[in-house]
Symmetry: C2
Subunit: 436 residues, 2 copies
């Protein structure tokens, strides 16, 4: 069968096109995806819930429709903090291990309305905080895949599904995308409804998703918007601002070398590069994110903490305790600092079109007890701006490395557009993969 | 029994105190509340779901606990767009007429954790938009109670429960509070988790609740926060800014007279009054709210609209169509205008401590097909600031009139504090009730 592509390996945009053109059928695509899930799931642990019958029921329903919708017949993974009617949704918590929602989250309903098939629920850390699920890094089973959207990145990385959803409150989309070498997109805060998604910190919680090709992003984005959204006009924006952030020294040498090498490479292509600073140099935005996340998170989980503390991890209980100790005055100050910097961003984005900055400190750390450090994500989530991770290369341990691109608030389409051009430009960048 | 107060008539703060002191029991309070519900419900239509067995089950569980929590034994009504585990939640929509959630919304869970008893689910308009439920105005059955939180205001007004929850996307807390003569509080956007609440427009959706005494507000607020929140220090803030808004001429004469008379009255007490303007004089903030609500709302309801349009009202379908026609450019411009004015508010609130402005155009309009006009609410919801309605008087038709007080973003405790002082000051204000 080497001469016949396994359809699960197709990137989303290609699968969509081929289905609409009648070249492949949803059943063929789904069969190959399920075959891959069955082959790799034991080793990877990407899915919390995978029920072939529920998946084929959807396929049978889909086959009666005409392939006119954007995601017609495309299998997607759904992070297990998003409610799915009739399909177990555990929130990554023992408290909800048997919880079967009666209703779809808005995002899930919109994906279904666009023709998608819910392939299964993907592992999340507990309530999308730190305590890990069972997923392993596809590149090395003793390394974390990152969190919290760990199952979604593993499933996309290993071609079980062409796309999967995530959410980010600190670094839960961009960091695992970096650790598993997939494209991750965290939307502008508020861009998509989170109704039906387990909330953690309302000021921070943002929707995202994962794919294997930058061209896939606008397809899912338009589907999730649930109504026709015109693509942004193509702008020949090419000014990149390198943001080292106050945490640059916390990045591994290989990550810093990659970013600096990549900037030189892009400057040799058609891009203009300059250094730029965002936020106070003492990392106060990162601290503000930590305060807000604790203050709001402990309130979102107060009822579970009161009734079932024995079913909660020490990690999440420590966060709740931190939240209890965070005063309203400190919280308000953190919100005020955030607003100040949100107001400064338009000036920064008048000088550059996109920011380029680390996605993570480096390769996925060894060990499955932790999901790594979101230190390079917190400030961007706080500022509510859209972020995209692009995989670029591999580090000394053979694990993926890449970069984060950040755009202006609510200009997600423009960020996707420039990310596509950067992704195309770096295709020839030496990728350092040990096998190449 | 005329010499024995019916306990359902007690305001919340009094009932809490008496229960904790052992002077009355939760069972006595609940019995009187249920008796009132049974007497008045047929006429008022406040409840979508009221099941005495479910209520007494909660009471039986509560009685095994000690009365140490803030809302121990207090019956509350829950707006029917907030999910309640095991209790039907219809979203005010035929689509969900049989939907029984498996999980409580965070707000519901926090109220229960504070000891509250869920008395029932109160009527909401369809998806908290315009199409009305069955509730009638307690002061006149041919007049609307306002919307969308119509059942909650009627239940609180008629002493079925001491408090009930609401939400506001345009004017769904403040307007019905005004029409039914209860206290309404719409929190700062983001102040409470909306996880488990049917979302409409994430940039606008805000939590609120209703009581009969301004002293009740901080008790529920602290309970809903789900963690100890220190009350704001008492500030002797007394500078009131009268905001007529660009829509002043849309208010009825009786509403305008009340506001001007009240301002004169407060100026004779210990308050300083001045006129102040907020927002462009052409009402652009109101227009921006309409655009954002349509743009986001049509996306939240896209899946229902695709699958079950025959179960949706013409009103909500018109909103969805408007949302489809609202371009992303217009939406982004509306968000940008909003942020500009949010940034100007601190300057305004350096000149005054609280804004005083109409809650509604006047008395509740006649007819049950419409829920009245949120024109005096849209801009404040958009600006994400906390708002409180205080009932003050009665209009020419014998229906309630009052005023809206607006505070700085995230300074809800300070707004509650000054509202308590204003409420106390206006106790002697001539209230115009025909029976007095």
């Amino acid at each position: 069968m080497a001469s016949s592509t396994r359809l699960n390996e197709l990137p989303l945009f290609a699968a969509c096109h081929l289905i609409r053109a009648g070249e492949i059928s949803p059943r063929e695509l789904l069969t190959d995806c399920i075959s891959q899930i069955e082959q790799r799931e034991d080793e990877l642990g990407a899915f919390t819930t995978f029920d072939k019958n529920l998946v084929f029921d959807q396929l049978n329903a889909i086959e009666k429709l005409k392939p006119k919708s954007l995601l017609y017949g495309i299998p997607v993974g759904i992070k297990d903090i998003m409610e799915t009617a009739g399909m177990r949704t555990t929130m990554g918590s023992k408290i909800y291990r048997d919880y079967i929602p009666g209703r779809d989250a808005v995002a899930v309903a919109n994906l279904k309305a666009a023709g998608a098939i819910i392939a299964g629920k993907t592992e999340s850390t507990e309530f999308a905080y730190y305590y890990p699920g069972k997923t392993r890094n596809p590149y090395s089973p003793q390394h974390t895949p990152g969190g919290s959207s760990m199952g979604s990145v593993a499933a996309v990385s290993q071609m079980m599904v062409p796309a999967a959803t995530g959410t980010q409150t600190a670094g839960s989309v961009i960091r695992p995308a970096a650790y598993c070498g997939v494209i991750g997109y965290k939307a502008s805060h508020g861009a998509f409804s989170l109704s039906g998604v387990c909330g953690f910190a309302p000021s921070l919680d943002s929707m995202g998703f994962f794919t294997r090709d930058a061209r896939d992003l606008s397809i899912i984005r338009n589907s999730l918007l649930g109504a026709p959204a015109k693509p942004a006009a193509r702008i020949n924006a090419n000014r990149i601002g390198l943001v080292r952030t106050p945490h640059w020294e916390r990045a591994e040498q290989s990550q810093r070398d990659l970013i600096e090498g990549l900037c030189d490479y892009l400057a040799d292509q058609s891009f203009e590069l300059k250094d730029i600073a965002v936020g106070p140099s003492d990392g106060a935005l990162t601290e503000a994110q930590i305060s807000i996340m604790a203050y709001e998170g402990c309130r979102s989980l107060a009822a579970e903490y009161a009734s079932s503390p024995e079913l909660m991890s020490e990690q999440i209980k420590a966060l709740i305790e931190l939240g209890h100790k965070t005063s309203f005055a400190d919280y308000r100050q953190a919100i005020a600092l955030t607003k100040t910097w949100q107001q400064k961003l338009p000036q920064i984005f008048s000088e550059v079109d996109v920011l380029l900055t680390p996605s993570a400190p480096g390769e996925a750390p060894k060990g499955l007890d932790s999901t790594g450090d979101p230190i390079f994500n917190r400030m961007w989530t706080l500022l509510q701006v859209p972020c995209i991770h692009l995989p670029v290369s591999f580090g000394p341990n053979g694990l993926p490395l890449g970069v984060q691109l950040v755009g202006p608030f609510n200009q997600d389409d423009a960020l996707i557009e420039i990310s596509n051009r950067i992704a195309a430009a770096v295709r020839e960048f030496p990728n350092g993969h040990p096998s190449e």
